[in-house]
């Protein structure tokens, strides 16, 4: 029997496919590529920091490396990671649909992504860029590096993100299977819905900001550069008006994946379905009102105070989700396979990320910690420990569905523990050196911080080994993995009704939904 992989042959049948599954797979390999480049840049940065003075890079190369790491990881990896790969592949299947609402638009979004990625890569060959991924003015308008190219790349990538968002919203509105009411929709779909809202509303602001930045650099229109009458803090407002909601573009889909993982591997109906679904929407809305917490050290007292309160309020829905996930474990039937380990890893690391967020949301403690390694550690706990862990959990969970093959559970557990230990080694010490005063984006540092940096650098090597192990067993799985069943984990959502891997038309007969998404049975009835 043919499946979506064997249905048609040849490279062109992939590059111009309108099949959401193939587009999802192409996105998957693209973001893997981006992750490899961004990860390599991170390893360079960490290696350079092994000693207080110059080791392998010049100051300029170091600044370009951390900029490249940030820009690639944010724009090319984390933002598209879950929605464009797992979302593209799984969302329609979860809704019982054979494709997204606009398949051609979906392909266009992928082509736009590749174009944007190529432009970003081009900037490396045009001399790189040394502004940090935040492009703060007036540094970014005056440095002699390839800022315009990288910014054009980010601008193009934004459209890819918008197109995916539009597509998902339409898909969720119109292509749900008969009987799948809004509150019978899996939580992964809810999280993508909330994400899409942010993508559509916030990304245009980034586009406007980046266009203004380009105009400022090329023609000196005098909006951001104070030397010609502009206001550099205005740029920060514009930039974070997108980039803070973007943090939720990154974490909301992760929370959706986590909800799927916890129910499947505990065979439990999710605790507080509506609370989790609605908190995603609440986060999406409030996320637009907290951008100013990136600027306590430059904005007025009144603004800082308002943004601090709102920041604490946005933390509450995330906290509620944590409690719901833990409560879901209660009296379940829990199986500790790799995806569930990533769920546990997520829970542990994301909670640390959340608690350290309190230090940063609080006005006075922020003033001390702002722009130190404490912030670096905090957002790596949230983005790596949160989003990347959920992405890896989701990848291991849906891998058998996507490729019809199982992977080595033994090696997968090794990779999990290597990454987990390496991650904590790399980033926990950064909290300590940060609160002791080590500023971020430093090429050299005062000798007393050497020991912390050395522990951190060794940790980064352990992470790298973990990912190499993962690469090995995933490639092995594709070549010679055990054939996967339709539903290897015993999950209830609709994507598991399809073949592994699904046929080109995944559902020959449209499924009819008659129950909530996680309607697991219990052994005792009361």
């Amino acid at each position: 029997m043919k499946n979506y992989i064997t249905e048609k042959k040849g490279l062109l049948s992939w590059l111009f496919t309108k099949d959401h599954k193939r587009i999802g797979i192409m996105y998957l390999f693209s973001v893997f590529g981006a992750f490899a480049v961004g990860g390599f840049a991170a390893l360079l940065v960490r290696l350079e920091l092994f000693t207080p003075d110059q080791l392998i890079l010049t100051a300029k190369q170091y600044n370009q490396s951390f900029t490249l790491h940030g820009a690639i990881m944010v724009f090319l990896f984390i933002i598209p990671s879950i929605p464009a790969t797992l979302g593209n592949f799984i969302l329609p299947l979860q809704l019982g649909a054979n494709d997204v609402a606009f398949p051609k638009l979906n392909l266009a979004s992928f082509h736009v992504y590749i174009l944007g990625a190529l432009v970003c890569i081009l900037s490396i060959f045009m001399g790189g860029i040394d502004t940090g991924w935040t492009f703060y003015t007036p540094y970014s308008t005056t440095t002699d590096t390839a800022v315009v190219t990288m910014v054009v790349g980010a601008f193009i990538l934004g459209f890819s993100s918008i197109l995916t968002g539009v597509n998902f919203i339409a898909t969720i509105h119109y292509l749900r299977a008969p009987g799948m009411t809004w509150f019978r929709m899996p939580l992964f779909a809810w999280s993508l819905y909330a994400t899409s809202i942010i993508q559509i509303l916030a990304t245009p602001v980034l586009a406007i900001t980046l266009v203004l930045l380009i105009l400022e650099r090329m023609w000196g229109i005098g909006i951001f550069d104070p030397a010609i009458g502009g206001d550099p803090v205005l740029f920060q407002h514009f930039f974070w008006f997108y980039s803070h909601p973007a943090v939720y573009i990154m974490i909301l889909p992760a929370m959706g994946v986590i909800s799927e993982l916890v129910t499947t591997f505990s065979r439990k109906n999710i605790f507080g379905y509506k609370a989790i679904a609605m908190s995603s929407i609440a986060i999406a809305v409030i996320s637009f009102l907290v951008w100013g917490h990136h600027m306590y050290t430059s904005e007025s007292e009144l603004a800082a105070t308002l943004f601090s309160i709102l920041t604490f309020l946005v933390a509450i829905p995330s906290g509620v989700k944590i409690f719901n996930w833990i409560a879901t474990l209660y009296k379940g039937s829990i199986s500790f396979e790799t995806p569930f380990l990533y769920f546990l890893g997520f829970l542990f690391l994301f909670v640390i990320g959340g608690f350290t967020g309190i230090f940063l949301g609080t006005l006075s403690t922020n003033i001390h910690l702002h722009d130190t390694y404490f912030v670096v550690a905090h957002f790596h706990y949230v983005m790596f420990g949160g989003t990347l862990y959920a992405f890896l959990g989701g990848l291991h969970y849906w891998w058998p569905k996507m490729f019809g093959k199982m992977y080595s559970e033994y090696l997968a557990k090794w990779a999990f523990w290597l990454i987990f230990i390496g991650f904590n080694m790399t980033f926990f010490v950064q909290f300590i050196m940060g609160s002791k005063g080590m500023p971020r984006r430093y090429y050299n540092y005062v000798d007393e911080f050497a020991i912390y940096h050395q522990i951190s650098t060794v940790g980064s090597w352990i992470i790298a080994i973990g990912f190499i192990v993962m690469l090995i067993y995933l490639v092995k799985s594709l070549r010679s993995g055990k054939k996967a069943d339709k539903n290897p984990w015993g999950a209830l959502t609709l994507e598991w009704l399809t073949d592994s891997p699904p046929q080109y038309h995944a559902f020959s007969k449209t499924p009819v939904v008659t129950s909530p998404p996680y309607d697991y049975k219990a052994s005792s009835h009361e």
Binding site: P226, N269, S298, I358, F359, I367, F431, S435
Partner: protein, 320 residues
């Protein structure tokens, strides 16, 4: 060599020593949040571990023992209690922040100017220093910050305070150190190649020493001029961008600079004589040597004539 207090040796596990006369409470709040987090964290891990151990799947077809989809009182508790707690933390942080931002009326004013890549300080009597911020102990000092090029940020870890330094705008920071000694100052807003070298030292002195410092004339005329120039080379921050061994840095090297032929970006050429060197120090943007960026700030007013002469003597000495 003067001793600057090590940030990791003294102080507590997470924080450097606190020398602020007004923000002692900062550390209390920091550790309050920390311990509250630890307590919650231990609770969450404990409860999760208990669920994981008691609910482990033993046979592959085992169902969950119970299906529980909600519990309204529990959900209200875990929404309301954290909300109240974080609002309480907000309040503590807000009070402390307002204290940080308030400016005592009797404060001494010192102007701070951030430039790529050094800090310049101007005292009430017009005296200027580069790289050393000298302040009296137990006296509120109001720092008025501005930048002449890109964003910088003025960070004093031992005083738990920082403020962004913005071109064309003045921002204010108040400090009141309660301890005599030398402490670190960092730039914490990324500003280019030498961002991590944009350090300064906070020198807290007794009131008498501070007034003596204000009155003292910097220039030491007991040593040869070129020797004084050598000292100024590090003291005034030239070292950040100009090498003395011939290696190219952000700016041209001083080795064999004197009487060398310079080619400029506008195509003109000139011999690097005294007049040219003085112009380059006071009006660095007048002629830019090809291959370099126009990034050097003007030293006009920062160096007295004697100091300029000393630096030129030093440059001469570096030439064969």
């Amino acid at each position: 060599m003067e001793i600057i207090q090590n940030l990791t040796e003294k102080g507590t596990f997470f924080l450097p020593s606190n020398i602020s006369a007004t923000l002692g409470e900062f550390d209390t709040l920091f550790y309050f949040i920390l311990w509250l987090s630890v307590i919650f964290m231990v609770g969450l891990i404990g409860v999760s571990a208990w669920f994981l151990i008691t609910s482990k799947r033993k046979s592959s077809d085992q169902l969950a023992e119970k299906q529980i989809t909600h519990n309204i009182p529990l959900e209200i508790i875990w929404t309301v209690v954290p909300t109240l707690l974080v609002l309480f933390i907000f309040w503590l942080g807000f009070k402390q922040y307002m204290l940080m931002r308030s400016i005592p009326p009797n404060a001494t004013t010192i102007y701070v100017s951030g430039k790529k890549w050094f800090w310049e300080f101007t005292y009430p009597n017009g005296k200027k220093t580069i790289g050393d911020l000298v302040v009296p102990v137990n006296t509120p000092v109001k720092l008025i910050l501005s930048s002449t090029d890109v964003l910088h940020s003025f960070y004093l870890p031992n005083l738990r305070i920082k403020r962004d330094v913005i071109p064309n705008r003045y921002t204010v920071l108040t400090i009141e150190p309660a301890k005599i000694g030398n402490f670190r100052i960092f730039c914490t807003e990324y500003c280019g190649d030498k961002h991590s070298n944009m350090l300064a030292t906070l020198k807290v002195m007794s009131n008498d020493d501070y007034y003596a410092f204000l009155k003292a004339v910097d220039f030491d005329d007991s040593i040869p001029l070129s020797e004084a120039g050598k000292q100024l080379y590090t003291k005034k921050g030239c070292v950040a961008c100009h090498s003395i061994d011939g290696s190219p840095m952000v700016g041209p090297t001083w080795k064999n600079l004197y009487n060398a032929n310079r080619v400029f970006t506008d195509g003109s050429e000139r011999i690097a004589d005294e007049a040219y060197l003085i112009e380059s120090i006071n009006y660095p943007q007048a002629h830019i040597v090809t291959g370099y960026q126009p990034v050097m700030p003007s030293y006009q007013g920062l160096l007295v004539d004697q100091e300029i002469t000393a630096i030129i003597e030093y440059i001469k000495e570096l030439s064969d």
